[in-house]
Symmetry: D2
Subunit: 486 residues, 4 copies
């Protein structure tokens, strides 16, 4: 017997690393935070944390490995998190080391300053965190975690400003990278988005209270009204008196993450004023125009390929069908029987609808190709089921570069598209055809009718283009070569 | 704060009560059984059990509350279940009483007879179990559980036959109802289907071994070849020497459960030689013909309405869209924030894609209406999101009668359709239109081109028609009135 | 690394297998039962069970592995055990197989009869249980467990008597062996002691309620008044109307277990009208007379040797001291460091008070020698600490025969005293002297001034004498040779 | 029903707050540390932590609530703690708040400095910790915990010394109070004792490795040789090359804690070259001389009063007996039955041996009187059992002052002896006589033949005398009045 992961495809997806959520001005804030985190669970499934503040008991916190539903639903835990203000965070275990002390890496982080405590959680990545960390340790700071976020707390602790929002500004001016921050003091909820606005951050209203959230779908779950996005480079400070807006950074042209539209965000969220579902459906339409094929069925690779597959079907006129069925009770690991079962890992997650597929020419629509391992397994299942032809259509351009802005990507060499052309990939995976949407097509689907403005791109598309809007300082120190340097 | 169930719709669905699975002639049988049970998890999520036999250690068993993935994946447990033969069972807690002793109600059951032990698990319901139980207690049998299945073991114990298969025949001739049985002795795997064949039971081949399973999707997960269905009224006895077939019952005309096609079985299973997905797709086609409407979008109620919605869309030409998004991280319970959130239970499971729905005339395709509570909540969500019109199309006829053959249904008075006409239901739910497929249309979609043969119906459709193919003896004793008696 | 048991001596003690407790006529009966079981925990540490009855909910039960304090202290569990009548049981896992199904072996057992249910728990052993079991299985009874007690329930189920006490009489007339039974119906608490009265059973009064308990120390913990012992061969039936006494068995001369005085019972209990502590103290006095020695210190082997050591010290004038200290935080298992640590298992439980022992001639008083392994380890520790001489004095005669009346003893060949004389044992263990109390001395210490009446012994002393008052039928079938047969 | 603590006496004892242990130069260091912590469990039962270092994996740590035996015995945890060097700590939860974040307060603490990491654990109390903490926060340090120990790590982080031992010296020169420290770097095990040597710290040898431990009993459990005590004011640094000794503090006359002899340390430990058991035995002898009484029995209050009771018995000639029996299966909480049971809490822990006590004049020997609540309960039990007279003899002088050097004591007003004279206490508790040993008598029993040197006391006896050898700075800020100020 040996164990294997029951999520065979997780290794073959880019993974958003975090989701953030915060509320102020509502009774039982922690319960709202838990619900918001639950709605953002797709942005981080490994661990979560909540910090709240109540005048009687001060700051309270709970950090747990596992899903929100398995931890933050127990009355015995939630009762330890009183207060009308609170923030929460869901995350992937980026270093992969869920070891003895790793719970210390789970956000939000808390620091006690001379004028009172503050808690902070962020989505994104500080690209010069290691340089700052070394400098702070040299000067006597003690780090609790290996997280990049902790350096913000230490920079704040050493600031000579007299209040926490000012200290946060001090600290943020020192850091580089992509960050959507939700923070809190005893009375104030604070939201910050980096000058490029790479990661999303939404503002909502819930009765007399206020909400900050990575995505609008988490406003929906608690019945909050979506007001607007926090602007790139904006810092909002919210308390009982209302909301104040600051712009502490040097202004830059925004570069929102294009991949949020393709895969990270939930299809029922709204990004940049646009339905994610609509964009994905439109990607399918563009794909059908750019890469048509004669076939009998269009099937999504569940679950993220569905809207694009519907778009492809409607544009092409080829009937849409759920040719691959997902097991909704997926868990962690099963013990593999001693006898050989080919592709057992895949079978635990998916099953092909044999009666539907047999003898058919099938267009499979997937969101991306990372290492290519998933695509090969799915192709095999489809051929085993008797498909006559298999055509892959991919709802994103070839992923050729790693992301350093809060996304868990393999090293460049492991990205199939960094080593092969589209035709080579088609041969490698072994399908009848394989086509990616063009970068221009993706921009059009995302609402940029004129496509990509190469002189000044509207989005961060570094994973496709190698055009990094912020230099990944720490990574360059470690030897990463930028495109220009190749 | 108060708790509420996070599965708001579970109360409003008919629920299959069980799935059965067994293998013989394979190394580490328990691991295959666990995988099969995992693939059958949709047939019973409350508890599961496995019994195996190995010459060195005799019979071993494990019964657990919870999902297969959470219990039967731990090496420390699986190692206690050695052997090359084993059977498993997943179930709902029918009596609802998951109390101190209820684990004793979890199948398979085991009994030691003079000639050796046997284990048994079944899907269905013995309709005269209580009468038999009273008689056996009177004669000195001690029951371990409140399960109807246990009376089979006791009848076998008191049989004077010399081997277990013969004792099982003795016992089964005494029971009435619907039952698909998987049983085992030290060397034999036994499968039985009641004379009407109400519940499914499939035979598969895995290398040199054999498999019995409620559905074909559980053959797929372990890579077993689907051979055939066990015939209604057939008993198969499988051991190292091969398979033997018996027909111990008086023959009857089969009446397979029609609702297995509509909802219970997985869409990737094959029933009666026909793809469940295909039947559901065809139900949508029939519905579009029977109950057309002018609209902008066809949306499924996730997840079971999807194939019928696709069929409706393709027949009607109205575009198909995923207007309602399901949260894939659903768990058990969240703590409701103290402030009122209308329909919070629904929001935990589903979210409406507002940008897609706003201003649109929407056709919602659902599999059934039981109490009507779900339909009302979904209607509200859709209207909140700004839909211009809401039209429900239901992929089954009105559910007017309880099922006594292994399905968890509310009492007759709680079934909306038993109290209201279609029009009254439409007004009650408050939608622009509400249409059910006709019983004839459902038969056609299920492959009976001529529709229902009222003189001798091809299926058991008692939940729609009140035409019960086996008298529900115990229920009649308790006062249930048959249709003829109304 | 390897694991080892942290109870190195447990393998080297005779172990009582059970304690029973029951109450009727008190609110929250289960809480009293739990307290009583806690006070009887020394009689069985592996598992425990409680069954109660309440008119609203019927019979409720909970069976758990582990200590009473770890299970029956949780409000969530205790709330599932309502009622004013209840019985409980603590036990060792006699077969040693705490496997997948062994929880079914934990008493009390429950059976539903035509006239209502009954629960039963016993301390002792049915010596013809296997013969009865075979016969019952032949006739169609299904056994749930491998416990000898279950045959009583099945015999009761098959009785044609019209009420449960009469059925119990029927059943008990069929069984042989030693048994102190506590049973219950919906309204009656029943206590029975076998005709020889081998195991104890006490009757107490708690306000308007009644209590049955293996020992008086469990009456003390709940503040109940000790009324009297249930007589050998007596059956009491207690309900709201009071207590009735029956004598359903053929009268025999009682033979209470002598070892209960030596080791099994708690020192603060009263047996046969006599303080257990006083008897043990008197054993020390007798030992000092029978086996004097010149020495500097008398030390008990903790904890059970203490009263006898005090008696030895007072009779001999040699100062008493706690030369061996017991770690009060003992748990189950530690991981042994990879480097060799001699006698680590012992060190986890005990430590020698080096400063006290060094250079001294030490008398060690222990309760018994079973395999002799413990004695060797303790001798080594004492010598390592620098003792000048080590003299063992044992508070019981040589244990030469296994007990078949509810005590977990090794096979005869593993009992050191069955293979060696006292002098050989002294040489084998390697101490300066080793003396056991004589059987006559033990009888005197237990209050029989005239010593043992060999013609008709006052106690069951089979473990010392081989004189079994009830033939161990099942064991003889398996090949056990009685003394006469040797 | 209501819950109550099952340790009714814990509230009425002074409690040592910590035990420390460390090893270097042995394979599987963590296993030795766990064993050492287990032997020191009586010094802290609420939580424990271990940190180790291995070249391949760096520093590893685990901190857990609960007993050592329940946590640090699991192979899955111990395998995460590799290395040949490690330190451990057991503690009481001093603040009493085992809340959401309190695991952060469990030692050892870890800090990463520019030249590498270090871990530290201590027994004692930094009496100016809060002043230092405020200053450090003002300058930008972020504290992880509410523990006084953490300020040492931060002082070290800010030191400009180039290696860790020098940084520790820098830090320790800033702190006041009582502290026995065990610390480690990647290669060095460090031990420090404050200049007064209030808390114990022992040095041992284990093969080629070295051990530091609060008490010698923890050397015994792993078979290590006891070399010597770390001297007051000494710092030892041990690595592969051997042991180096430093004396970084200004020398002071030592003042070892006198209460360690009375209660905190285990009777099998050696303190100041003297057996703790012997000292306690001698306390009993002194008590019998100072406070004789005519009586029939001398009984210890289990377990700590035993050696003094033996001494009292031997000096007075009054027979020694175990008149009170302790339940060895004590757990946390039972649910109290709804009917009144007087002194149930006591009964869970202790039972009086009625047969022994009835009609007797009893001398009860206890170690101390704190609030007096325990003494009253025990008196009641003894009288309930029919004792003719009850005489308390206490093995320590009246406890009148709180300890600020690492012991959990109630506020001064809650100490019975701070409000009453000996006679008043006797009347309050309601016994026939109550006598404490004199302070001089206690010094004599501890080996100071001339008694207490009032000009320059040999021990810290602040809890008896109010003579605090180090000013409790933080407490004075909070309003505590020294004796001189009264």
């Amino acid at each position: 017997m040996r164990h294997f992961s029951s999520h065979p495809f997780d290794d073959d997806k880019l993974k958003e690393e975090c989701g953030v959520f915060g509320v102020v001005g509502v009774t039982d804030a922690a319960n709202f935070v838990a619900l918001g985190m639950h709605a953002l669970q797709h942005r981080g499934q490994e661990a979560g944390g909540i910090i709240t503040y109540a005048p009687e008991g001060g700051f309270s916190s709970a950090h747990r490995f596992g899903l929100v539903r398995d931890n933050f639903t127990r009355a015995s835990l939630m009762e330890t998190l009183p207060g009308t203000i609170g923030i929460g965070h869901v995350r992937y275990s980026t270093a992969g080391s869920k070891g003895a002390t790793a719970i210390r890496d789970v956000q939000p982080f808390f620091g006690e300053f001379a004028m009172g405590g503050a808690a902070i959680a962020h989505n994104g990545n500080i690209t010069n965190a290691e340089a700052i960390r070394r400098e702070l340790i040299e000067r006597g700071s003690i780090f609790q975690s290996s997280s990049d976020s902790e350096c913000i707390i230490h920079l704040m602790a050493r600031s000579i400003q007299k209040n926490i929002p000012e200290r946060m500004k001090d600290a943020l001016r020192r850091v580089e990278g992509a960050f959507s921050i939700v923070a809190m003091t005893r009375t104030k909820l604070i939201g910050v988005r980096d000058p490029l606005g790479v990661r999303p951050l939404m503002l909502g209203r819930l009765g007399d209270g206020w909400v900050l959230s990575s995505e609008t779908c988490a406003l929906d779950i608690i019945g909050a009204e979506f007001l607007r996005e926090i602007e790139p480079g904006e810092m909002v400070v919210i308390d009982a008196k209302g909301i104040e807006s600051f712009h502490p950074f040097e202004p830059k042209k925004p570069r929102f993450c294009l991949f949020e539209h393709v895969y990270f965000s939930r299809p029922d969220s709204i990004l940049g004023g646009r339905s994610v579902y609509e964009t994905r459906h439109q990607i399918g339409v563009e794909l059908a125009i750019e890469a048509p094929v004669e076939a009998d069925l269009v099937c999504p690779v569940p679950d993220s390929g569905t809207p694009a597959a519907i778009g492809y079907s409607q544009q092409s006129g080829i009937p849409f069908a759920m040719g691959i069925v997902r097991n909704q009770y997926m868990g962690r690991t099963f013990i593999e029987p001693s006898e050989q079962i080919r592709n057992m890992g895949v079978r635990l997650k998916l099953n092909v609808n044999r009666a539907l597929i047999a003898g058919k020419r099938v267009v499979l629509v997937d969101d991306s190709v990372v290492r290519g391992t998933t695509s090969m397994k799915i192709k095999e299942m489809i051929l085993d089921a008797g498909a006559a032809e298999v055509h892959f259509r991919i709802a994103s351009p070839p992923t050729m570069w790693p992301c350093f802005y809060g996304v868990d990507t393999p090293e460049k060499e492991k990205l199939l598209a960094s080593r092969m052309t589209e035709d080579e990939m088609c041969a490698f995976i072994g399908v009848d055809s394989l086509k990616f949407i063009s970068l221009g097509g993706l921009y059009r689907a995302a609402g940029e009718a004129g496509g990509r403005n190469d002189a000044s791109p509207q989005y961060c598309d570094a994973c496709f283009s190698g055009d990094y809007p912020v230099a990944p300082t720490d990574m360059i120190v470690k030897g990463f070569a930028l495109k220009a340097a190749e």
